[in-house]
Symmetry: C2
Subunit: 394 residues, 2 copies
């Protein structure tokens, strides 16, 4: 049957399998992109849900407008404006996590065989979101300053039909690197020149440890070509499933129509509770707490890697976000090592890097998350893995 054919190459969720491993308490998992649950503002959310449920007329339990509660859209516009991307409630569409924005973008812009341009490596969840649209990929390597825009120029010249570029400019998933100011301008210029829509995914943007925030691509957008995606998953809690898009009116209108079609609306209760949180509590205070905690954990992980891993293993030193990216010596297979050694012997999980490459996997890479585990577990897990690696490379 046709559906079988169509869905045959949807990728099984490697993320899902690894998240499942993370649930085994005897494994120290650096796999998922989990925020630290001990930092969740639980008491505040409890108060917000109580207040939302008690709202007049049961309004927070009833249906709501498909594009989201107007008050919350205004609050998000306020956060975006304060972050240097001026917009109003009219420019905001509430999504079921920013993941839904990736799905909508592909459904709007990509027919089977069309080219999507991504960083190499890129966010696995985006590849999963795009897969039902059956794209081809053109990929651009990253270095310490993010996507190599000099190579992007060549890639676009070689792929004149490309219509969509996907990027995580701040503390990229999986590499942790940030697109430099110069390259942000170059990327926008190339998008204008090649008639591209740019999907800017920013779940980690607020979690900056050091240095100054760089302008969003949306704020540099001169032709309404950037779909900016934001999320409360990392700065509030993932379990709310609240994200948003900011885009030019024609794009946002079409995403709004897809929202009605796809699931009618995001949960009224969750929108109402998040909106109350933003009214009653100081999100930037909470984010400051997260920054301090994750910066400290990042240092713990990088110190432990330097102490315990073979010298030949390199790790990125991100200025923010949740991940560091490890490169092992050529010939090392991080997938086989996890299956054969890391999981059964060291009792440690990570995400083998191969899964993040749309075209040509680099088996000697891996993504390590430092936000989910305690400093003690980070030290213990990295030490155990270091012993296994030292033995492997003896």
């Amino acid at each position: 049957m046709k559906y079988a054919q169509r869905m045959a190459d949807v990728r099984p969720s490697a993320i899902g399998e690894l998240l499942a491993l993370g649930a085994d308490p005897s494994i120290i998992s650096f796999g998922g992109g989990y925020p630290d649950a001990s930092l969740f503002p639980a008491k505040a959310l409890e108060d917000c849900f109580r207040e939302a449920i008690r709202a007049p007329g049961g309004a927070a339990m009833q249906y709501a407008p498909s594009n989201g509660l107007a008050h919350l859209r205004g609050q998000i516009a306020g956060l975006m404006t304060a972050d240097g991307t001026p917009c109003t409630a009219e420019d905001v569409l509430i999504l079921q996590g920013s993941q839904q924005g990736l799905d909508f973008a592909a459904r709007m812009l990509v027919d089977p065989g069309d080219v999507i341009v991504t960083e190499d490596p890129t966010f696995l969840g985006a590849l999963i979101a795009f897969q039902p649209s059956q794209p081809r990929y053109a990929v651009v390597p990253v270095d310490g300053n993010g996507m190599r825009t000099d190579i992007l120029s060549d890639v676009l010249a070689a792929n004149p039909g490309a219509r969509m570029l996907y990027t995580v400019p701040d503390f990229q998933n999986p590499t942790g690197v940030t697109l430099s100011m110069e390259r942000r301008h170059q990327l926008i210029a190339l998008a204008n020149q090649h008639d591209l829509i740019v999907v800017e995914d920013t779940p980690y943007r607020q979690i900056r440890f050091t240095g100054d925030s760089l302008p969003t691509l949306k704020s540099l957008d001169t032709e309404g070509r950037v779909i900016h995606l934001g999320s409360f998953s990392k700065v509030l809690v993932p379990g709310l499933r609240l994200g948003w898009a900011v885009a030019a009116p024609d794009l946002l209108m079409r995403m709004g129509l897809l929202k009605v079609a796809a699931d009618t609306q995001t949960s009224t209760l969750n929108m109402a509770a998040a909106s109350l949180f933003l009214d009653r509590y100081d999100l930037s205070d909470h984010i400051a707490t997260l920054r301090r905690a994750y910066a400290a954990k990042k240092e713990v992980m990088l110190d432990a890697i330097r102490q315990h891993f073979p010298q030949a293993v390199t790790a990125t030193d991100p200025e923010g976000g949740l991940f560091t990216w490890l490169t092992f010596p050529e010939g090392f297979d991080a997938t086989a090592f996890m299956r054969d050694v890391a999981l059964p012997q060291a009792r440690v999980a990570y995400v083998p890097g191969a899964t993040f490459f749309p075209l040509t996997p680099r088996p000697n890479t891996a993504r390590f998350n430092y936000s989910a585990q305690s400093p003690e577990k980070i030290q213990a897990g990295i030490a155990a893995l270091g012993r296994a690696l030292q033995a492997h490379f003896l």
Copy 2:
């Protein structure tokens, strides 16, 4: 640009516009499919959200498996089994409302130009969900016993490429009619004969006023052809956005892959709170309350229609659900009457029936909801509309 072309004929949400009207407190709206907010189990949900947020390790605020919390899937399987459709947690996929199941079904089964078979009229939200897949429609009229399966047989013979049939067998939206036992068997036999996938949408199934529940199509399914969609929106609260699919393993696996792609997961908090509600409270008690209240309101509305409307206007007398379907004399235009008379003069809203017909609108029809308004408002609104209709038909 291509996205403009692709999205050009996505239907603007007539439901959305009418829901917006319902928010004007000076209008008595029979338009939306809103449940009665005064019956929401607010205190119980407040307790459930508090308990969920306090769960060990912040688990209800964290990411969760994409197919849904296992305990909730088991509870839903228990409800389905008690309703005569035996299944296990493995057979259940949690969705962002059953609307998401409509989107997934079309994405799995329909390419542009493929035929979807529906009741005529049918649920507008389904037409909106299917529209991005650009189907053609083949329609089957309904009578007091639901879809005319004798005509369905002819329609399938005339459309040998049809692959998907969409139906609301219980208290259909918009007509309120229920598919008879004999026709349920005939529908399954025809699906087997013509190699169809049947999407069975059952949001109102539990809200039965009179008579015995009929078997779900899923329970009669002999070849794994029925995708059963269920929802907590009408029996708990819509603001949770919780629905589910029960389907054969191959179909459910493919819907599960689309779930990962579309939004990763439904809200952990909402799943956890609903699961606690099912553990701590008696859903069937709550449903019994809803049945009594909606049955009484239905009687109030039909009595008022008989009393105030011209004799030539007929209304269905549903055995359950949220809607009655009105047929006005030939030549009456329910859309124009709403715009020109009902809204500005009588201050009453309903849904003009034309919007529910995939192919050929019947302008002299309308859908009236009786669940949302109080008995007093129902009487007042129907009386005001009756006066306007009597004047119109003088």
